[in-house]
Amino acid sequence: MIDNDPCVIIENEFVKPGKGQAFNRVKIRNLKTGRVVDKTFKSGESVEAADVVEKEMQYLYSDSDFWHFMVADTFAQYAADQTAVGDAAQWLKEQDICSVTLWNDAPLTITPPKFVELTIVETDPGVRGDTAQGGVKPATLESGAVVRVPLFIENGEVIRIDTRTGGYVSRVKD
């Protein structure tokens, strides 16, 4: 816990001059804002531990305010708000397994699966030979996300997306 926010240490360098005081120079990511900051601690200094755990959960459904998740083996359900879900919302498909970070048992951040398979609900028919756009066109997915896909992709097809980049990976055939 730093400045009342839960943070994760992403780098920790132990620094000690030959005969001097030891320090830990750490890079921490604020789990609420995602910001990364540098901090210096005297070695041995302590900070309050944040009650943060990461759990695999199945995405169930969303209503107007919340996205609902469930732990598969205990059936425990959690409701995540807009802040926690953030950009992940556009990749959520019912029954997909997501990684949910809990802080004091409430969802803090949602990480979608690295790859998701989603159905195209709307895209213009591709015009053969139209390469002015680099051979790609926009397509709207069932989750609401808009991604760029190759010209040969048609309405109703299922495609595989890399959620870390938002990029098209391949066509998924039944």
Binding site: E13, F14, K16, G18, Q21, A22, F23, T40, S43, E45
Partner: protein, 301 residues
């Protein structure tokens, strides 16, 4: 590398010695934590005390390659168990010994050291690389750290002298050290007296500790002293160290009375230096971390 070191010293007629790793007393250095055993003994943090007793006994020039232990030191450049090379030259002062250090390091780091070594005084190192004077007040040091984007740890309740030494250490390790040893060996000499450890302090109007450290690629490799030979001064430094340890809430290990006895019997004027050999090996192989050269770092030991 070990063979090259042994040959280097054989050519100079420096005798290889072995001293106990397990001891009844320990270093009183405020920032060193010895590993204590269950029967009240300590693993040495360096062979310094025992080797000085050999010097006082008239052994002359000596060197040792041994394991040393420092509790709680673990990181990219630290492992609680490490290999140390320590040697003493009778009749040398710190600058003469530094020349020998530069020769040996140039030999061991031959493929990676490109230019002639440089030497800077501690004050020059701070002013050149951090733009701050060595006698700055704590507030000025804090400002310097903030200007360089270094987050400053809390220091509430620390006496001014402790706060000052804390920030000088941080300026040195966070701002200055990364600039040192860029393609060549950089050595810093003439330390502030509060960082003298076991070095002789000059009688000048502004006293300086005859101590040096050598860096390569921002990594500190060697720490040497023109050795303190005065027994009563040594005894009083042990006491000051212990007081400082109590103030910092650290354990106070038994003082090495045998070293004081040896100094009273007479330690010849000499200079001594210690190397972290794991770091030298790491740099010679252009590694980034001690884990690159340790088979089993402490997390896997």
């Amino acid at each position: 590398m070990l063979a090259a070191i042994r040959q280097f010293f054989a050519e100079r007629q420096v005798l290889e010695v072995e001293t106990p790793i397990l001891s009844r007393s320990a270093s009183t250095d405020a920032h060193l934590e010895p590993v204590a055993t269950s029967d009240g003994l300590y693993l040495h943090t360096s062979p310094e005390h025992a080797m000085k007793r050999l010097l006082a006994a008239g052994f002359g020039d000596i060197y040792q390659i041994c394991k040393a232990f420092r509790a709680g030191e673990e990181g990219r450049l630290h492992n609680p168990e490490f290999t140390m090379l320590e040697w003493y030259r009778v009749g040398f002062d710190d600058q003469a010994l530094l020349s020998e250090v530069e020769e040996l390091l140039a030999l061991l780091l031959k493929p990676v050291v490109l230019q002639e070594p440089e030497r800077l005084s501690y004050a020059e190192a701070l002013s050149t690389h951090a733009g701050v004077a060595v006698d700055s007040r704590p507030s000025e040091l804090v400002e310097c750290l903030r200007d360089h984007g270094v987050h400053v740890p809390g220091y509430d309740g620390l006496p001014e002298t402790e706060a000052r030494s804390l920030f000088v250490d941080l300026v040195m390790s966070a701002i200055v050290a990364p600039c040192l040893g860029n393609g060549r060996l950089s050595s810093v000499y003439d330390y502030p007296p509060d960082q003298a450890a076991l070095a002789r302090i000059t009688d000048d109007p502004t006293p300086l500790a005859r101590r040096f450290e050598t860096w390569f690629s921002g990594v500190e490799l060697a720490n040497g002293f023109d050795e303190l030979t005065d027994a009563s001064e040594q005894a009083s430094r042990f006491e000051t160290d212990l007081e400082r340890r109590r103030r910092l809430g650290r354990r106070t290990p038994p003082v090495d009375a045998l070293l004081i006895d040896a100094l009273s019997a007479g330690l010849p004027a000499s200079a001594g230096v210690a190397f972290g050999l794991d770091r030298v090996l790491m740099l010679s192989l252009q590694g980034q971390s001690l884990n690159d050269v340790l088979h089993f770092p402490i997390s896997r030991a």
